[in-house]
Subunit: 506 residues, 2 copies
């Protein structure tokens, strides 16, 4: 279930509504401006009505999806961070003691998270090698030989890679069996016998020290982002602060290319700054390239770099799932785009160009609509299932666009000396924000956590299903770090290259 | 347990630290300013250290208080608002069905809240009458007669009041027996068999519609504020918005007396505005009265009106307990005072007087310390027990004062042309706010709700205590509206005034 449930094309809506403001030809103080005034009210009411229906529909769909879903590990599991350890007990023992004492009837099992970056590197190396081997083996005609080593021995590459792969796999196995207590992080996935049991442990503050036993909902097992698994409260908190500062810096530093672009689009300004260009710029072709094509190119290039940077920043911010990282990166890019494309362009321009940009705001929603999902839509569907959790971002963006539209409308009516209209518009953004506040109260909680009513009903429904015993067995190992799973990439190569051993099997 | 646990006199501390800024005599750019600079750092570090210790101490005391407390009704009870009703069921039935279905093992009983404003008026009338009667009876020599009615009958007042009281009591009893289903509000106090059970129902969202079955912690039975018992989500939400607007309006309108006062303290300004006063103001006595005494009088008079207004606004905001109303009113008065005494005075003055006020900020904490508690402190101790819940307000005010001190220091160093010092001070407010953010994460949750660990331990401790059965019996009726309790004020008057009836008893 994505965010595209009801097919309302909000981009189109906004475009139409904002087209109303290309009213530069309307005379100052003209009575016709009242048509634009009423259009603002009508469009706002219509969009709010649609947004309310959509929010209502998606939240009911979210509940319906939950009711119809099969039991899934993440519904029964929470992630616990900041686990306190004493000298005499390991993290695992600490978790066991705590949950058997305070959640005796619902606690099922737990899985402590280990530091496995070294292992992960080895496994990646093995993967790359096995791919290369497969490629070589699939085309036997290309069996290549290479001179390797100090004395330039001639070696069959398939043989060479095969041996190397076996070596890596052995060190992976060694490393896996050695993942010691020292490499335990102070975080664990804790599974419960019921969804309601997991919800209780998630919602209630657990410890007298609120920075210990910090609980959050577990993501789907495949959605877990293992690499940066910060487990202590302080580390998570500090990295979050660092990321916020980095984001602000990036947004500010990005003003440099924006200002350059702004300068390029303004031919006369460019001539004032760089007078030696004057002769070139008079040639129509160069003028067109520099003011039309070049600014776009520069901006597009810089904009291409932003999403990966934002995703990287989100990944070190302490999120534990790919979906959360992408949701956070999505928000970051959204605000970055709004700030830079709109505000920064406005503020860095001259007074005259300001007005002209105010009169062309129809580009903004379109640009946002293209730029933001472009930085995730391809990878969105297959990887995980958020059950509509992205919808509130869409809703908030629409509300922001509406308030922006009101601000622009008030500005225009003031410019066109129709001050009664701009005064009468003032209640509109206030009412829109109140509408949004109501929606946050009415619908948002459903997107944060499922209510007790739903959880208990679902639990009861499945209490007597025989398949649950089998599910619990799977649940116990569902959150095992994939780096700790047994690997075997060398099967093919071994069977191909060691015929003597296979004949010994007969 | 109040907020005065560790006897640190913060007002004194702030006064001392801010005294450092009465440095108008220090030469511009003088090296001695660095002593003030280091003082700002030392004072900030010292106060933050003390605040951390105090927060830690008070939160541990809060937990200790909870462990040592006897079972109290409010620990086992939650308030539920926004109860949905169907045509065929009452609020009471709806509550019973919901909690027996979703909290079958922990649900104990419930008490629906009724609209009893009419009853409360009658009871108040009876109370007043009985007091008057008692007063008359205690001084029999003063038995007075009065002419009452159209024909001026001569009536014994004791007799007259006695009869009236009996009448009122009868109509109270009639009203009490008639409190019908129609007067049920959509709110109820729901009691549980354990503290943990109540906590689960409070922390977990209950319904698929987040505006229904809205739960909150119940106050102590004596602390419940019965009069304004708004029960529906929408009414509570709207009244909250209205109160916020009213508060802002009051704060803005209060600028009028502040500006008047500001004018009075400035003699030369006054002479410019009202030139006919010039001759009077030259007389020293009148000048002193008008610039010294009058402004203070006006300001004090207006400031006296503010706390009752704020308390009234808080009472209609939807809070359900006296303690919450007073906590909210306390915050309102605090911000009102900060805004008006400090900022408004600064902004409404001339540029020169701005500086002089900046140089006398030592008055502000002192004024706050006097004006705010004037903290309500008399009614605070006996009425209810918040177990240290007021501490976070004190903590936040201290942090605000610190940041204000930094702002003032930066301003002064800039004025005194020691720009390195003001630059080097910039990290201090940031670090102070980060310290505050950490404290919010580390301690604040303990002041909002008790953690599962504590609740379960306390529940287990008392599971085998035989007195609990008796406590549960009391718990069932603990949250009955006092207006629905049987009343009897007329006993004394009856026995005194109706000797014939008492003789018939023999």
């Amino acid at each position: 279930m994505g965010t595209q449930l009801h097919e309302i094309d909000f981009t189109d809506l906004s475009n139409n509504s904002l087209d109303l403001f290309t009213i530069s030809n309307v005379n100052i103080g003209s009575k016709w401006l009242w048509i634009h005034f009423s259009a603002v009210y009508i469009v706002t009411i219509f969009i709010c009505y649609q947004l309310y229906n959509e929010y209502k529909y998606i939240s009911s769909e979210r509940i319906a999806y939950f009711y119809s879903s099969k039991p899934q590990p993440h519904q029964f599991t929470i992630l616990v961070r900041g686990i306190p350890v004493s000298v005499c007990s390991s993290v695992s023992e600490s978790v066991e003691t705590f949950f058997t004492e305070f959640h005796p009837t619902t606690y099922l099992s737990h899985m402590v998270v280990h530091r496995t970056s070294k292992l992960r590197n080895l496994i990646n190396e093995a993967k790359t090698l096995s791919k290369r081997l497969l490629h070589l083996q699939s085309e036997p005609s290309q069996h290549t030989y290479r001179h390797i080593g100090l004395f330039g021995q001639r070696v069959d590459l398939v043989d060479h890679y095969g041996k190397k792969l076996v070596d890596i796999e052995q060190s992976v196995r060694l490393e896996q069996s050695n993942v010691s207590l020292a490499e335990e992080t102070r975080a664990a996935f804790v599974s419960f016998k019921s969804r309601y049991g997991a919800a209780i442990a998630f919602h209630l503050p657990q410890s007298t020290n609120p920075t210990q036993w910090v609980t959050e909902q577990a993501p789907e097992p495949d959605d877990v982002y293992w690499p940066f698994f910060s487990s202590s409260f302080m580390r998570t908190w500090i990295s979050k602060l660092v990321v916020i500062v980095a984001c602000i810096l990036l947004t500010i530093l990005f003003l440099i290319p924006v200002v350059v672009v702004q300068g390029l689009t303004n031919l006369s300004q460019l001539e004032t700054w760089l007078p030696f260009l004057k002769s070139i710029l008079t040639i129509t072709f160069f003028g067109q390239v520099i003011t039309g094509y070049l600014p776009n190119l520069i901006l597009q290039l810089f904009l291409k770099i932003v999403p990966p940077i934002m995703e990287f920043l989100s990944s070190i911010q302490g999120y534990i799932s790919h979906s959360d990282i992408e949701k956070s990166a999505c928000k970051k890019v959204l605000w970055f785009t709004i700030w830079n494309i709109f505000f920064a362009t406005v503020f860095s321009g001259s007074v005259l160009s300001k007005v002209s940009i105010f009169l062309e705001p129809k580009n903004i929603p379109a640009k946002l609509a293209v730029a933001v999902p472009a930085q995730f839509i391809n990878v969105y569907m297959p990887k995980y299932e958020t059950a509509g959790k992205f919808w509130p971002i869409v809703h908030n963006s629409m509300i922001f666009s509406l308030v922006l539209m009101h601000a622009i409308a008030i500005g225009i009516f003031t410019l066109k000396k129709l001050s009664i209209a701009s005064t009468l518009l003032f209640p509109l953004p206030v009412l829109t924000l109140l509408f949004n506040a109501y929606c946050r109260k009415r619908f948002l909680p459903i997107f944060i956590a499922y209510p007790a009513e739903v959880l208990i009903k679902k639990d009861k429904e499945e209490a007597s299903v025989p398949a649950m015993a089998e599910f619990y067995d799977k649940l116990v190992t569902a959150y095992r770090d994939p780096a700790l799973m047994p690997i075997q990439y060398s099967v093919n190569s071994e069977s191909l290259n060691r015929p003597l051993m296979s004949s010994a099997d007969f």
